[in-house]
Amino acid sequence: MNEIEIVNKVLSGDNRVIAKLISSIENQAPNINEVLMKLYPYTGNAYIIGITGATGVGKSTLINNLINHYKSQGLRLGVICIDPSSPITGGAILGDRLRLINSIDERVFIRSMATRGCKGGISKSLRDVIRVLDASGKELIIIETIGVSQVDFEIVNYVDTLLLVIMPYMGDEIQLMKAGLLEVADIVVINKADLTNSEDMVLAIRENLNSNNGWKVPIVKTIAINGFGIQELINKINEHKNYLLTTNEIGKRRKDRIKEEILEEISNIVKQNILDDENFDEIVKKVFEREITPNFAAQLLIKKHKFSISNNCSDV
């Protein structure tokens, strides 16, 4: 199949082609950039919700509820579930899909992804995979990832609305005060709210929440297994979306994400050029022997490669 055929099939929602394209992105197949370039004009329409939180808090069950609701509204959905790869073997057990099995039908495209060595709870290919689903006509894309409050908040750079899911008995108040997810979440969900008097927890969290540029972060209590609180959660998601749209905060956020991505791409391209440099090891040796500093070595290499990088880019 040539690139045009692939693009047309993706646009028409062919699951097989979509799935294979996602694999090609993950495996960094050659020529993938040509296809992605042709798809890019068709992206930017989907609304993206991120759901993160520690293992076992009930993210998948919550997502089940959300899928059922949005399906009943006739929306086409994409769901991406991210699980960690083993740092030793590189393998992974991707076990989120099984929890969603009862809410799946032809209109819902679910893909399980492994982190494949990427830090922060996300995958290197995530942005392009989101774009494929976006271009294929999914109006809403939900991304589930594991987030341990203090470290895994990369997901905030990929989504429009970020839900942080926690549950009672997760640790004392001091834990909540540490920097991280609590600072960047748009909505905090206390799931399994029946486990304890969750009012204390609500108070403790409220004290640690900042105001996110004029959006007052709501705390929603849910019991996902029986649907309690789900309608309220959906209402809050809608409110946040409306807030972003009416203030045009959404445009600002999406541009910030694009900036972040361009900078990452620059870093990747430069790194790859340097790694391909046959003199790299010699320069490393000079730094090791204290002849030059790492910073100086970096500048030397960039200066040397300035011209070879621009040759790869055809005139725009």
Binding site: E26, A29, T89, G91, I93
Partner: protein, 134 residues
């Protein structure tokens, strides 16, 4: 930079009953050999299995069958795979299956049947070989 591509395997137990201890053991062994395993668990219909296999773009579907599900549910999976144009996905079956039925399964396109006592290393080796063959 081209990464080595990962082998993706879907493991499911079609049908209504039984336990999935064996399936979990295999899932862990595949993960330990570097594969990505989409573990779908139990009580699945053939439709759900094939739909998942297509969306997840797996190389292999591993079906764990106990108590006679193999003569109805496995052929149904093969049929739906063909109907959806996804016959390039290889299917392997694990479980207690009479040797006559093993023959029948292979005739409908099942790549291999693994009985009780199979070492997980044999399954890993087999999967790597059929994926390499393409």
């Amino acid at each position: 930079m081209e990464m080595e591509r990962k082998i993706r395997v879907l493991i499911a137990k079609p049908g209504l009953n039984g336990h999935d201890r064996g399936a979990k053991v295999v899932a862990r062994a595949l993960r330990d050999s570097g594969m990505e395993v989409i573990y779908l668990g139990m009580r699945l219909t053939p439709d759900q299995i094939v739909n998942a296999a297509i969306q997840e773009d797996v190389d292999v579907i591993g079906l764990s069958v106990l108590s006679g599900a193999h003569d109805t549910l496995v052929p149904e999976v093969m049929r739906i795979l063909k109907e959806k144009g996804a016959e390039d996905i290889k299917v392997i079956v694990g479980g207690i299956i009479p040797s006559d039925d093993v023959k029948k399964l292979k005739e409908i396109g099942v790549a291999e049947v693994f009985g009780p006592g199979t070492l997980t290393s044999q399954i890993v080796k087999f999967i790597k070989e059929i994926v390499a063959k393409g």
